[in-house]
């Protein structure tokens, strides 16, 4: 799979190689993973991770280098599966563009664009298995797609017709969490339960560079570590928390923080879908094997505004945007597929058509969503009847015009 490893840009945005760091106490981490789907492939020259220099480890403790053979984790991918990752990213971006248009046209109240983060989300999302449970923040439309959540259900939240319209247990995908970082604790508790139930799966929780400053995230780091829960912390460092740059959140690299909590971490090029898939597969394997949590920092970029209510020209330069535009995750996968001869003109044309049809149908389904029954605002306040709410519902219902309910 030479082509695959060639694509793996194991680089930081500044051009440095990724360093993989763990603390000495995690040396039991095995450097020879079983590649998904079969035997371990021969790593091509230079494909493994380099030994980090003396300045690459975290302060305190003795850093050890975990030599993850990343290519082995994606060696099983067939040509169709490679193209499938690209298709996922194309469709998710098309959904994102359509949702942005729908917001501009008044059909959605707000939209949080994932543009630029498709590789991090599809790569990690496709690493998940049926026994795994994902806990998203509120921008994980690409992960939702990978977990089989109806994109219209995601739009419904932003249209304001419900607060979370999918079945979390059925999809292995929790509801969106708008209070940033709160979900890391839910994932930690859920993973404790998985361990207690001897589940073969693991949990993964998504959060951002901004959330990494929240107390809940740091409590989750500590808790998950001391109880060695099967959990992958997946931080999409998209460089901006609305207007605040990542350097306002932390003076250290985010992935270095795990060392202080006593568990391994890795930083990955978040715009490389294969690298994200490989790293997440490794991290999940570590977690599922009972070795405790792993932190993955996927370095990526929020190419759009924070939400449609935001104006990023007030705080970041067009030169920065342009630099990241050159690292567009979709372009990189296109280049890779083309180099491997997997992007025939006809197939590319068919995918473009599929994306347009998908967006058209999504738009139609979105605009057809009716407002909920007014009295439904009283539904599901509690499992058991609450007399106060019941009385308010009756009084409210009596004020409605016939046909309004």
């Amino acid at each position: 799979m030479r082509g695959v490893t060639e694509l793996m840009q194991l680089l930081t945005p500044d051009g440095h190689r990724i360093t993989v760091v763990s603390r000495a106490r995690t040396t039991e981490l095995d450097g020879s993973p079983t590649a998904p789907g079969g035997s371990r492939s021969e790593p091509p020259p230079g494909a493994g991770l380099p030994a980090a220099g003396p300045d690459s480890g975290p302060g305190g403790g003795e850093p050890t280098i975990v030599d993850i053979d990343l290519p082995a984790y994606v060696a099983d991918l067939t040509d169709d599966e490679l193209f499938g990752l690209y298709r996922d990213m194309v469709l998710v971006r098309r959904m994102d563009e359509e949702a942005t248009s729908l917001q501009r046209q008044g059909e959605l109240g707000l939209w949080a664009s994932l543009r630029g983060q498709e590789a991090a989300q599809v790569g990690s999302g496709r690493a998940l298995g049926p026994d795994d449970m994902a806990f998203p923040s509120y921008r994980e439309h690409g992960v939702a797609w990978c977990r089989g959540v109806d994109p219209a259900a995601v739009l419904a939240i932003f249209r304001g017709v419900n607060l979370g319209g999918w079945d979390p247990a059925g999809h292995g995908f929790a509801l969106y969490s708008i209070v940033v970082g709160a979900q890391t604790l839910h994932a930690t508790g859920y993973a404790m339960g998985m361990a207690q139930d001897r589940s073969p799966g693991a949990a993964i929780v998504y959060f951002g560079d901004g959330a990494s400053s929240e107390g809940d995230v740091n409590e989750a780091f500590g808790w998950a570590s001391v109880f060695a829960v099967p959990l992958v912390f997946f931080c999409q460092n998209n460089q901006w928390a609305i207007s605040e740059p990542a350097r306002r959140q932390s003076r250290t690299e985010i992935f270095h923080r795990a060392a202080g909590f006593g568990f391994p971490s890795v930083r990955v090029d978040g715009n490389d879908v294969l690298a994200c898939l490989a790293v997440t597969r490794w991290a999940l394997e570590t977690a599922r094997a009972g070795r405790g949590p792993v932190l993955v920092e996927a370095v990526t970029y929020r190419m759009g505004a924070h939400t449609t209510a935001d104006d990023p020209t007030r705080y970041r330069s067009s030169a920065e945007l342009e630099a990241w535009h050159r690292r567009d995750p979709l372009d990189r996968m296109r280049t890779h597929l083309a180099a491997r001869g997997l992007l025939a003109q006809e197939r590319d044309r068919r995918l473009a058509l599929e994306a347009d049809t998908f967006a058209h149908e999504l738009r139609a389904r979105c605009t057809a969503m009716p407002d909920p029954d007014p009295t439904s605002l009283f539904d599901h306040v509690q499992v058991t009847e609450n007399g106060l709410v019941a009385a308010q519902r009756s009084a409210f219902a009596a004020t409605l015009d016939p046909g309004e309910t």
Binding site: G164, L175, T184, M192, D216, G222, W223, V226, H380
Partner: protein, 357 residues
């Protein structure tokens, strides 16, 4: 309530029998012990019940309410947690999503605030957010109230914050028998319950049947969320909950002896939802109502009771609804707390004022 039925006979044998060295039948025990036995019954009845909190395992809790549970049920079900209140509640939410029934202990009332977001924005709202798909049967036990001479943050009454939040149930026990039953009922509830324990009453004793599986108290008609008349009377109505129920009963004794007045005392037990039918029925007979709690008066449980009674029993009232509460100050240093806490004199003064209208 869910029907997670407890098999009373066998539970009773375990709880009160050889294993714990307790006599099996009704016996006088402290409120703390009653909670302990209730927790033990709930854990024995349902393997999904997990107790978690700071010092709840090896130590048995700073008030010993979880004493012996670690030994009996093991580390997987009695978890000494890191000192992280937000995480105690946040992970309990995740455990509940996974099918567990966590019982969290917040060590003291004043330590619940770091968990406020997880309680108010997550625990309370996930059932609603998920259109009913997610149920979070989480019980959060909080020792509350003052009167033990403690340092700051150990004597507060934060109930109004939680009563104000849709999706939470808030209850307060006042005596050992109720404590034993209500903790089991709260754990069986499929809704999150804030369970307030009157810490200065932990060591007061009353007769409890340890085999009781949490059936409604003889005084309370409708289960966990029912209030109860704990002393019948005809001249005025006193309403309290948690630690002030005992104070109200003491006031009623004194009033009967000194003034010849017959005061009815009602224990609210459930602060959200409120069960005001017994209060309204009482006020319709007595025409006078005094509500008593340790929490400050501003936007408090007594404010809600006063508003609703005024709305629903206006023509029965001979006097405005009066309140005896903690002052609208921060909780004072321990040497001043006797001035802060409602006592018999302040209650009887309010009764006098009510009769003055």
């Amino acid at each position: 309530m869910t029907s997670g039925a407890v098999i009373a006979g066998e539970q009773a044998a375990d709880v009160g029998g050889e294993r714990t060295g307790e006599p099996a039948g009704p016996m006088p025990i402290t409120l703390a012990k009653a909670l302990n036995l209730g927790l033990r019954s709930a854990m024995a009845a349902d393997p999904k019940v997990i107790v978690m909190g700071e010092d709840v395992g090896t130590l048995g809790g700073v008030f010993r309410v979880t004493d012996g549970l670690l030994k009996e049920f093991g580390e997987a079900r009695v978890i000494d947690t890191p000192l992280a209140e937000s995480a105690i509640v946040g992970t309990a939410i995740g455990l509940a999503m996974r099918g567990y029934r966590p019982v969290c202990e917040i060590q003291f009332d004043g330590f619940v605030y770091p968990a406020f977001d997880q309680i108010v924005s997550q625990l309370a709202k996930l059932h609603y957010r998920s259109a009913g798909r997610i149920r979070l049967p989480v019980t959060i036990r909080i020792p509350f109230g003052g009167g033990i001479g403690a340092v700051e943050h150990h004597s507060e009454s934060p109930e109004a914050y939680f009563c104000h939040t849709a999706g939470l149930k808030v209850v307060a026990c006042s005596n050992p028998a109720d404590a034993h039953q209500m903790i089991q009922q709260a754990i069986r509830s499929d809704d999150p319950v804030i369970f307030l324990e009157p810490k200065r009453r932990y060591w007061e004793k009353a007769v409890v049947d340890p085999g009781s599986p949490g059936e409604p108290s003889p005084n309370a008609t409708g289960g966990l969320h029912s209030s109860a008349v704990v002393r019948a009377g005809t001249d005025a109505t006193l309403v309290g909950y948690g630690p002030t129920v005992r104070t109200c009963l003491d006031a009623a004794e004194v009033s009967a002896a000194d003034d010849g007045r017959s005061l009815e005392v009602i224990d609210l037990r459930s602060l959200s939802p409120l069960d005001l039918e017994p209060v309204l029925a009482s006020v319709r007979r007595t025409g006078r109502l005094v509500v008593v709690h340790e929490a400050p008066s501003n936007v408090s449980v007594s404010a809600e009771v006063a508003a609703r009674v005024t709305e629903q029993a206006f023509y029965s009232l001979e006097a405005p609804v009066l309140r005896v509460t903690g002052f609208d100050t921060p909780y004072p240093p321990a040497r001043l707390e006797d001035h802060y806490l409602p006592d018999v004199d302040r209650i009887l003064d309010a009764v006098d004022r009510s009769f003055g209208y």
